[in-house]
Symmetry: C2
C-alpha cells in the first residue's frame, strides 16, 4: 500500500457535523412545537418544487448551509405537514421527539440487521421491543414479533406464509401446479390485501370481497357461504384477513366469529389492525379485539398511532416456522453464520435482506412516554373523537356516518333544505375548500354510497381548541356553499 | 368540545428536544470521527443484550437521559459497526454526515409521500434526485426513477412488471391460468432474484441458474440454450437478470450480449447493479456497464456505495407504464386525487403504500460532496482495492481468486507447504480469528469450490494505513495458524 495516498475526500468533519446538526435540531425543536404556523396542505401546484431546483447535481462540493437554506426556501413550502396538529386526514400520525431522536441514532449507526451477527444489539433490541409491545397489547406469548417497514409488506408476508402452509409446494413449483387459491376479506379491507394477492400470483380473481353489515363489519355468514362455494367449485381457500379499524370507517370485523370459521376450514387468519391496533393497549377497548389472540398473524403500525416516525410496522405471527419456511434463503457461505438457532436472523422472515435498526425509535418512545403516558394519549384521542362526534350528532344540519370506536369520525354535511342528490357535491366542495385553505386537512370516503368526510385524530398536539376551530370551519364552509 | 380538556400527555417540549438532540448530535459527531475506537464486530454472545434489558416497558415516563445512558451502556457493546473504517465485510458502506442529517430531517417531517398531494416536495425532490443520479450514471433520459427501500424490493418489482408484460392476465387471473414462467440469472446472482420468484409464485423451479465463465460472468451461450430449451418444452421465458458487480466476487455479466438475447426473445432485462452501480459515474469504468442502457430496469443502492444511510435503493425502468399496470390499485375515493397525470403518485409503482421522505438524504449527499467529490471518493476506493490486490499478488503465500473491477478483493491464504485440502479450514480459522479480534471485519464466499476471503471497501474513512494493518493481521494470523 502506498502510505502517501491520502483520502481525497473525507466525510463531514466532526466540527461541521456538530454545527449543522445543532442548527437542524434547533429548527426541528421549533418545528415540532409550532408546526401550526404552516399551512397543513402544501400551497403549491404540480411542478412548482421541481422547477425551482437545478436540473443537475452540483459539480463541486457545497457547504451544507446552502442546502439547509434551500430546504427552508424551496422544499418547505411544498411539504404537506403530517406532523401538524390539524392534519386530520387518512390516519393522523405523530413523529414524536423521542421517536425522531431514536431514528437519528439508528441512521448514524447505519447497522444492517440482516443476520444476528451483523447487528446483535439491533436484533435483540428488536426482540425486546416487539415483546414489550406484545405484552401491552395483551397478545399471547407464543406470538413471534418482527419489525417490517409497512403494513403493505406485513400483509404480503402473512399471505405468503398462508400460501406456504397449504402444502402445495408453491415455493418450489410456483403457483401453476396446484389448485386455484382464494383469500377472503371484507369489501372494506385495505387495498394492500388485493395488492398482495396480485403480487403473490393469486390474482384479483382469487380475492373474495365479503359483504359488510350496517356497521361496515364483515358478515360472517357471507364469509362461510363464500368459502363453501369455493370448496364446491374445487378452489382452495387459503386465508382470511379480518380488519380491526378499517381505513374507510374504522369499523371492527367480528374476529371471534371469523376465527371460528377460519379454524373450521383450516384457513390462515391474518388480522389487519394497522391503525387501530394500539387501542388494544387500553383495557376498556380490549373487548373490540376479542378473538385476535387466535389469529395466525397480526399487523399494527406504531408509525400510525403510536408516536413513532415512519416507517415501523409490527408484525406478529404464532407460526414463525412457516413464515421462515416461506422466505428463508440463506446464500451458502456468504451469509451463513455459526450461531444457528440460538439467535434470530431476521432476514429469513421477510422479503428484505437489508434491515434498518428500527427498534431504537420505538424503544425511545415507550421509555419516554411510559405505558401510562401511552394509555393517556390514546384515551385523549378517543375522547376528542367522541366529543367531536357529539357535536355532529347534536346538529340537525350534519349527519354521522359510522360508529366511533377509536379516533376516527365519519360524517357529512346535510343542511336542511338541500336535496339528497346535491349532498355529494356539497361535501366534496366543502372538503376542497377547507383543505385548500391550509387551515386543516381532512379526507374522504364513501359510506352507503355517500361522500363522507373523515376526521382522524392521532397527533399528540391536536387539542380540543383545534377541533372546535375545525368544526367552525366546517359549519361556516357549508353555509357559504349553500348560499352560493 | 370541552375547552377545559387539556392534553394529558404532550410531546417532548422544545427545550428538552434541543438538549437531548444536541447531546446526540455531539455523540454522533464524535462517533463518526472515531468509530475505530470500538471493536468492528460486537464482542457479545447471543442473548447478552436481551438479558440486560427489562422484560416490560416502563410503566411511568422516563427522562430520555436514562435511555441515552442505557444506549451507551447496554446497546453500544452489541453494535457491529457498519460505520467503521475497518468494516470490510459484505459490501462496506458509509452513513455519511450529510446523509444522516438529511435522514434526520426526513424523520422529523414524517411525510408519507404515497401520493403527490400528501407530499408534493417529497415527490418532486424524489424526481429531481433520481434524475440527477441517472444523469451521473449515464442512463438515458427515458428511464423513470423511483426510490425503493432495498434491492430485494426493487428486483421483486422488476420481475413483477416483467410478469405483467407477458400479457397473461396474471394480475387478474393469478399464475394458475397461463403457462409456466421462467426467469434467468447466473448462478452468481443475488439470492433476492430467487426470493422474488418464490414470492411472485414463479417458484424456485422457474429460476434458471445459468453457468458462469472463468471470471464468474454469466455465459451467454448457456443463457441462449436454456431459453431455447424452455421454449421447446412449452414454458414461457419472462425475464433475465444480469448482475453488474456480483455479491460473491464483484464479477460483471456481459450485459451487451445478454441484452441482445433478451431482445431476441422479448424478455424483460433487469440489471442488478445494487453494489457496483455507482461506479458507472466514473468515465473510466463506464465500459463495464456497456449494454445496461438497453435494460428494461436497473437497480443500484446509494445506501451501498454512495454514502447514503440505509435504506435507499434507486430503481429505474424504461417501462413505467407496465410497472404501474402491475401495481396500481387506487382505492376509490379514499386515495383519489385530482392532479391526475400531471404528477407522479409513487404508491402506484410499487408494493408499499407508505413511503418515507428518503430523497432528502441523497440530496444532501450529492450537494455536500458534489459530483467531483463523489468521483474522487469512488476512485480512491477502487485504487485502494487495486493496491491491496497487488499486495496479495506479490506474495507467494497468498492467492487472488477473482479480478478486481471495483472495490472488492477476493483472495485466500495459500501458504507454501500447506496441502490444498487444508486450505479451507485454514482460511476459515483465519477469518474467524480476525473477526473475533474486533480489529477488522471481513467476510467469505466460495470461488472455484474454495473458501475465499472477501475484502470490500466502501467506507469514507478507510485509509491505506487501515489496509496495511489488515494485511499484517492476515499475514500474522495465517502464520500463527500454520504454526499451531
Amino acid at each position: 500500500m502506498n502510505p502517501e495516498m491520502k483520502p481525497p475526500v473525507t466525510d463531514m468533519p466532526a466540527e461541521e457535523f456538530r454545527r449543522h446538526g445543532h442548527r437542524l435540531v434547533d429548527w426541528i425543536a421549533d418545528y415540532l412545537q409550532h408546526s401550526e404556523r404552516y399551512p397543513v396542505v402544501a400551497q403549491v401546484k404540480p411542478g412548482d418544487i421541481r422547477k425551482a431546483l437545478p436540473r443537475q447535481a452540483p459539480e463541486q462540493p457545497e457547504d451544507l448551509t446552502v442546502a439547509l437554506d434551500d430546504f427552508e426556501r424551496v422544499i418547505l413550502p411544498g411539504v404537506t405537514h403530517w406532523n401538524h396538529p390539524r392534519f386530520l386526514a387518512y390516519f393522523a400520525i405523530t413523529g414524536s421527539g423521542p421517536g425522531i431522536l431514536g431514528d437519528l441514532l439508528g441512521g448514524a449507526l447505519n447497522v444492517n440487521a440482516m443476520v444476528w451477527k451483523t447487528g446483535p444489539a439491533a436484533t435483540e433490541l428488536e426482540e425486546v421491543v416487539v415483546g414489550w409491545l406484545r405484552q401491552m397489547l395483551g397478545l399471547p406469548e407464543e406470538f413471534f414479533g418482527i419489525i417490517m417497514d409497512t403494513a403493505s409488506v406485513s400483509t404480503l408476508c402473512a399471505l405468503h406464509a398462508a400460501r406456504e402452509r397449504l402444502g402445495l409446494s408453491v415455493r418450489e413449483k410456483g403457483m401453476g401446479a396446484g389448485p386455484r387459491i382464494c383469500v377472503y376479506c371484507s369489501d372494506q379491507a385495505h387495498s394492500s390485501v388485493e395488492k398482495a394477492c396480485i403480487t403473490l400470483g393469486i390474482g384479483q380473481e382469487g380475492v373474495r370481497a365479503i359483504a359488510h353489515d350496517a356497521e361496515y363489519r364483515m358478515d360472517p355468514t357471507a364469509l362461510e357461504a363464500a368459502i363453501q362455494d369455493d370448496v364446491r367449485n374445487g378452489l382452495r381457500p387459503c386465508a382470511v384477513v379480518a380488519t380491526l379499524g378499517t381505513t374507510s370507517s374504522g369499523s371492527v370485523d367480528p374476529v371471534k366469529e371469523i376465527a371460528e370459521i377460519a379454524a373450521r376450514h383450516a384457513l390462515w387468519l391474518h388480522v389487519d389492525a394497522a391503525y387501530a391496533g394500539p387501542a388494544a393497549i387500553l383495557p376498556e377497548k380490549r373487548a373490540l379485539f376479542s378473538g385476535w389472540e387466535r389469529a395466525d398473524s397480526v399487523v399494527l403500525n406504531p408509525h400510525k398511532w403510536l408516536f413513532t416516525p415512519f416507517d415501523f410496522s409490527a408484525f406478529y405471527t404464532r407460526d414463525p416456522q412457516t413464515l421462515r419456511a416461506a422466505f428463508s434463503l440463506v446464500p451458502p457461505v456468504y451469509l451463513t453464520t455459526k450461531e444457528g438457532d440460538q439467535v434470530h436472523n431476521y432476514m429469513e422472515y421477510g422479503i428484505q435482506l437489508g434491515r434498518r435498526f428500527r427498534a431504537l425509535k420505538l424503544w425511545f418512545v415507550l421509555r419516554y412516554f411510559g405505558q401510562e403516558g401511552v394509555r393517556q394519549a390514546l384515551r385523549y384521542h378517543i375522547e376528542l373523537a367522541q366529543q367531536f362526534a357529539a357535536l355532529v350528532d347534536a346538529d340537525p344540519d350534519w349527519e354521522r356516518m359510522a360508529p366511533v370506536h377509536f379516533s376516527l369520525v365519519c360524517f357529512r354535511a346535510r343542511p336542511r333544505g338541500v336535496p339528497e342528490d346535491r349532498l355529494d357535491d356539497l361535501n366534496a366542495a366543502l372538503l376542497e375548500d377547507i383543505n385548500a385553505s391550509g387551515q386543516a386537512f381532512l379526507s374522504q370516503t364513501k359510506l352507503r354510497g355517500n361522500l363522507t368526510i373523515r376526521l382522524a385524530i392521532g397527533h399528540l398536539r391536536t387539542s380540543s381548541q383545534d377541533l372546535t376551530a375545525v368544526w367552525e370551519l366546517l359549519r361556516e364552509g357549508a353555509a357559504r356553499i349553500v348560499a352560493r
